[in-house]
Structures are given as C-alpha cells and as structure tokens.
Subunit: 168 residues, 2 copies
DNA sequence: GACAATACGTCAGCTTTGTTGACATTCCAA
DNA sequence: TTGGAATGTCAACAAAGCTGACGTATTGTC
C-alpha cells in the first residue's frame, strides 16, 4: 500500500514490483544451488556434508573460537553441531583444546590436515564466485553485497561484520 | 596465484581478491538464512518444510507442469519430490490430473487453498526482499541479479530464464 | 564452604528431506 | 503384438536438523 505508483524522481520504483521481487527470489534459489554444488562434490567423496563444511569454514575464519561462539554463528543446536564436530575431531581435522583462562571452554582449531580440506573446499567455491564476479564486474559485485547484507537478520549481520575486519 | 596484483587498467581487480571472495561467500550464507527465515516460520505452523514451499512456488509459476518437469527444476529425485507432493495432494493444496495426451503424465495445479498458502509464503518472502531492495537501491539490485545469474549452473540458468519471460 | 550458573558433552527419540531399489502403468516403435 | 522406454508410486534407509534430559567440570557468588 505504501508503495503505490507515486511518480518518482527520475529513477522509478519499477524494481520493486512483485514480479521483480519474485525473480529475485528465484535467482537466490538457483544461485544458492550453484553456490554449494562444487564443495558438495568434494564433501561427498569424504562422506561429509554441508554441516561439516560450515564448521570447517568458520573455524578457519575464527581460529580458537569456542563451541558456544560457533554455535551462535551457525545458528544450530549444540547437539547438532556436536555430532559434526565429533567426527571432525575423530578424523583429525579439528583440534579441541581446553581453555587456559576458563577451563570449561574448548578452543577449536584446524589441524594441518583440516586446513588442507578447508583450502580445497574454499578453492572450489571461490572459483565459481570469482567467475561470477569477473563476469558481472566490480559495480555489480558492490550491489550484490549491498543487497545480501540488507537481507540478513540483525544477528547474522553482526557476525558477518565482526568477521569482515579480520584482514581489513 | 593467478590473481596476483597485476597493475590493471583503471578499474582495479581488487574485488577479486581471495578475501573479497570469501566475504561474498559468507554474505551468501548469512543472507540465505534470512531469505528462508520468514517462510520457514509460516511453514512450521502447518508442519511443512522448505521442500513443500519450493514445490508450491514452482507449481504456482508453472501451472499444469508435470512431475518430471518439476523434478528437473527442483533438482531432486522423483522419490523425494513424490513424498512432498503426496502430502500436498492429500491436504488438498495441490491437484494432480492425469494427462490428456499422455496418460502417464500428471499435471499439477494449486487448488484455491493451495494458492492461499502460496500467497502467504510469497508475501512473507517478498516483504524481506522488498526491504532489502529498497535499502540497496535499483543499481545495487541490478548488480545483485547479475552476479546471481552468473553463479548459476547452466541448467538452472535455463530454467530461470524460461520462467523469466512469463510476464515480461 | 555451599550452591547456583556456565560450558560442554552425550543419550534417546523425532522430523524433514535427501538417497537407492523395486514395481505398476502407459506409450511407442520395431 | 511385444518389448523397451518413459512416467510416476511405494518401501526402506541415511544425513542432519530439532527437543528434552542428564552428567561433569569449572567458575563465580553469597
């Protein structure tokens, strides 16, 4: 209602029609499938799943993170994360060390072997992302990131921003 | 390695660094969670899942589609789709009619009740998408769509484009 | 020192949604 | 007309999410 066709200055609001939004929705669906396809192939060989990938990715990004912190980043229950984490630790990809200051905490790191898998998964996913970025160009990429950030929940955006400035 | 800092003409290739790509990957992950959050809440009340949402969405977009066609759009096995479809048919949201020309085929439509749920889900998802679009602006939206399209598999892009011109 | 709160791990059981394999029906072409 | 291909259904199983309950070690507080 509030977005009726008010004659707008120059740049019209045509990009906010239901039809345009629907296409955006479908683009997200199809693109996300492409986004996960390449790592999925690698994971399948090792009989891991997407959950393992997510854990590995964020442990890599936040080395030494605690289980609780990882939980809130991933937005799953601890039972669910624990199952994944246990297999990764058993398989020697992730190391869990007792906290120095607080001995209740476990700090998570990738082992050398874990870092190898992380690199393989990351490379596969980045290759596709790079091709898409290159095809679309820098201006499109900026817009892409802007829209995605606006689509996040507040909590997710917080995590996202927190990791942003690791290397910036 | 291949994207070392080669001095580029004007517009640098800084947006293709591993770090930038990694942020794009994380943006996709967090944004997709937001993207599905609102419909998920509605679905939970009716004890349906995301798979039901996808089926309803694409049946709405391609009324009269066959099971096989829906299969190739959704990219799952027919057994998986069948379970979802069966509950939707039992619950009276989807109508399945035997094909006239080919009696092996089943043509799928939303019932009135199905269309009501589709609308509710669609509205919820579009609201978030609209807010993100509005916040980012038309230029960003164009870039967003460009990058997503470039990220799709060929087959997905084909389906995406095929549905594009329904109303254009 | 007693006791509540925190961080983590685990067990049991359930749901959704993906998989493979077997099977019925229908169409088409040799 | 008959055998193979295509379409869709049923059965059983696996991955990965969830809730709830409980145990243990540690921390911090009264």
């Amino acid at each position: 209602m509030s977005d009726g066709p008010q004659p707008q200055t120059g740049q019209s609001l045509l990009f906010l029609t239901d039809e345009q939004l629907r296409k955006g929705i479908e683009a997200m669906f199809f693109a996300y499938r492409g986004f996960t396809a390449d790592p999925d192939r690698i994971l399948e060989e090792k009989s891991y799943g997407r959950a393992h990938h997510r854990a590995i990715h964020f442990i890599h990004r936040n080395p030494g993170t605690t289980v609780n912190n990882l939980l809130s980043i991933l937005g799953v229950t601890k039972q669910s994360l624990n199952r994944v984490l246990r297999t990764l630790i058993e398989d020697g990809l992730v190391a869990s060390t007792v906290g120095k200051r607080d001995k209740r905490e476990r700090h998570l790191h990738l082992t050398t072997e874990g870092a190898v898998l992380e690199r393989a998964l990351s490379d596969a996913q980045r290759d596709r992302m790079r091709a898409a970025y290159r095809a679309a160009g820098p201006a499109a990429v900026a817009g892409f990131r802007q829209v995605l950030e606006a689509m996040m929940d507040d909590q997710a955006r917080h995590h996202y921003e927190a990791m942003k400035d690791v290397t910036e």
